[in-house]
């Protein structure tokens, strides 16, 4: 098992190298660098700019810069954010927590809606409920995240039930521990819904198919033959087995949410990595 994990991690290294290298290449192809706004200012002399260029190695080709950056990262130095005037490590740490919180709650929303819906759709197969939930799943799948986020902003502005953007209220610092949690949760509701609803559809479909398979399995027949109550058969015997394949989809779903968070964060003005 450990050897296997080790192998998988080793396989990650060329992938990470490739991705970061590609990003560096693309950044170097784009015009301008972080000194462009400084260059536009008249009161900064050419000598200063040149010395900064020297210091940061900006006049070297991108692969030299890349190797330098790589060396720094390996030794734990991510550098200093020019725009935010703070170390990148702190900046990422701060934002990452917010995005992580958002992704987790989106996941909770998605699974919390999708699993019961999927189970019910399978139990009452071909009923009106099944049809309606299938249609809703289609609709959720076809709704772009940013449009949903826009709709939520509209709702928040019109009803005043939810805050417009941000992760905390202005009074956040003066709240008690319980108040702080409630405040954060209040700010999380809309972004988490906007992010989570998109993945409800696919999870629900998988859940429905799994559950249908499980219901037809022999152990369910056995359980019924033993004279167990229908509720116990469904929710203990069938459900546990049907949920299994979803657990393995968990990691995949989570990484998808992390990258999908970008747009939702921008529209709902949530201070995460986006």
């Amino acid at each position: 098992m450990i050897a296997y994990l080790f192998r998988r991690f080793l396989a990650l290294i060329p992938l990470l190298l490739g991705i970061t290298g590609l990003v560096f290449l693309l950044m170097s192809l784009a015009p301008g660098d972080f000194l462009t706004p400084v260059r536009a200012q008249r009161d900064v002399s050419r000598e200063v700019i040149q010395s900064i260029e020297q210091q940061f190695g900006l006049n070297q080709p991108w692969y030299v810069q890349y190797v330098k950056w790589l060396g720094n990262v390996v030794t734990g130095n991510l550098g200093h954010s020019w725009a935010f005037k703070m170390p990148v490590v702190d900046l990422i740490g701060q934002r990452l927590l917010a995005t992580f919180l958002l992704s987790v709650s989106a996941l909770v929303v998605a699974w919390g809606i999708a699993i019961p819906l999927g189970v019910l759709a399978a139990m009452y197969k071909d009923s009106i409920f099944d049809r309606i939930s299938a249609f809703l799943a289609y609709a959720a799948l076809s709704l772009p995240e940013f449009f949903l986020a826009l709709l939520f902003m509209f709702l928040a502005a019109q009803s005043g039930w939810f805050p417009m953007g941000g992760a905390t209220s202005i009074e956040y610092e003066f709240m008690g521990a319980g108040g702080k949690i409630l405040d954060r949760a209040h700010h999380l509701v809309l972004p988490a819904l906007a992010l989570g609803i998109g993945s409800v559809a696919s999870i629900m479909r998988i859940m429905r198919a799994n559950f249908l398979d499980a219901i037809r399995a022999d152990y369910v027949k056995t359980a019924r033959a033993k004279g167990l109550r229908e509720r116990r058969v469904m929710f203990v015997h069938a459900l546990r087995n049907a949920i299994n394949p979803l657990i393995s989809a968990f990691g995949f779903a989570f990484s998808g949410l992390l990258s999908g968070a970008l747009i939702v964060e921008i529209v709902l003005q949530y201070p995460g990595l986006g």
Binding site: L15, G18, I19, L22, V23, L26, M27, L29, A30, P31, Y138, A139, L141, S142, L143, P144, F146, F147, L150, L151, M153, F154, A156, A157, Q158, M164, A209, L212, S259, G260, L262, I263, I266, V267
Partner: protein
């Protein structure tokens, strides 16, 4: 092996297929005949009628459009003037254009040709442009980006997947590592980075092509991978061997023997992945990185709705591009699903 015509015929016989297919046809027709349908050009501003609500249409011895007056300029609230309206003309005169780029005309489906009247089916935006007209013109970008992008993706996916499946061995290994790499990079970030790298080399009115290139660059990997697997299994078949023994080159075999067997899969995959392009363009334009003003696209129009004023003063009509995106995407998804059922009945839902 049924022919493409048969597949479409069966698809259109099913109620869902006919409905979604009909909706798509309607959308594409309105995109092609945008000038005929839109009452105003894309950029006709009217700074005295900003954020105008959708105008009511009344019947008074003919279709007439209700007249409005500005009540409160600071909140952009308009009120209908009782009993005052302007006539609407069916196939009336409006701005001049070339229908299909050929015939010079100034006829429009429904216009208000009274110079004082204003006809906004879906209201107006922050500079008083007709939202409905922009919606119709914007559909050109949003709808055709999908078709163009998917063509590029499918051709490239087929070439890479088909060739690596056909040759196997080292070609296959290298191609699949590249594909895996492409699939591992998060799409949205790659999109943003590519856009930053490509943008300076193109003028803003060529942005359409930049976006197509970017989206196609990202999308081909998954297709290539699946097609490779299918090409691998087709390669084992006797008819490929027969063609080889007759001395046909790999490209000929690919075109004559492999492609026809993959056609129905390609068709379904293409239909189901077009929504990705529509959404991708909308997201890019929404973030201000896609189509630029003054051109119109659905994503761009939505980004304009991202405004505190719009939220608080309830200018709901500015969200209509979102509905248009939604309808397009859902139509493609449903149509693709029906198509898949027709092509491959075994994969039918349980």
């Amino acid at each position: 092996m049924t022919s493409l015509g048969n597949i479409f015929k069966t698809t259109f016989r099913r109620p869902l297929g006919a409905f979604s297919g009909g909706l798509l046809l309607l959308l594409y027709l309105s995109a092609i005949f945008a000038e005929l349908i839109a009452p105003a050009p894309t950029n006709a501003q009217d700074l005295e009628r900003t954020y105008h609500p959708p105008t009511k249409i009344v019947w008074d011895g003919g279709l007439r459009v209700q007249a409005y007056e500005l009540v409160d300029p600071s909140a952009a609230s308009y009120a209908a003037i009782e009993g005052e309206s302007y006539p609407l003309r069916f196939m009336g005169h409006g701005f001049e254009y070339r229908l299909l780029g050929l015939f010079k005309t100034d006829r429009h489906l429904l216009v208000c040709d009274d110079p004082k009247g204003a006809f906004y089916l879906l209201g107006s935006d922050s500079t008083g442009r007709d939202v409905f007209s922009r919606l119709v013109f914007g559909s050109r970008v949003s709808l055709f980006i999908g078709l163009l992008g998917i063509t590029i993706t499918m051709v490239r996916g087929f070439l890479v997947g088909g060739l690596s499946g056909y040759f196997g061995g080292r070609t296959d290994f290298v191609a699949m590592r590249i594909v895996e790499f492409m699939m591992a990079v998060p799409g949205l970030y790659l999109l943003l980075a590519l856009r930053a790298a490509l943008a300076p080399h193109f003028a803003s009115d060529q942005m359409f092509f930049v976006i197509v290139i970017i989206l196609a660059f990202i999308g081909w990997a998954g297709t290539a991978r699946i097609l490779r697997g299918m090409a691998l299994s087709i390669r084992q078949q006797a008819f490929v061997m027969a063609a080889e023994s007759m001395g046909q080159g790999p490209l000929t075999i690919l075109r004559k023997h492999v492609l026809p067997n993959l056609l129905s899969y390609l068709l379904v995959a293409a239909t189901l992945s077009i929504p990705g392009y529509v959404l991708g363009e909308a997201a890019l334009s929404f973030l201000g990185l896609g189509i630029q003003e003054p051109s119109a696209s659905w994503g761009l129009m939505l980004s304009e709705a991202q405004n505190v004023k719009v939220f608080y003063l309830n200018f709901w009509w500015l969200l209509s591009p979102g509905l248009a995106i939604f309808l397009t995407v859902i139509a493609y998804n449903v149509f693709g699903d029906v198509l898949r059922d027709v092509v491959d009945p075994r994969s039918q839902k349980r």
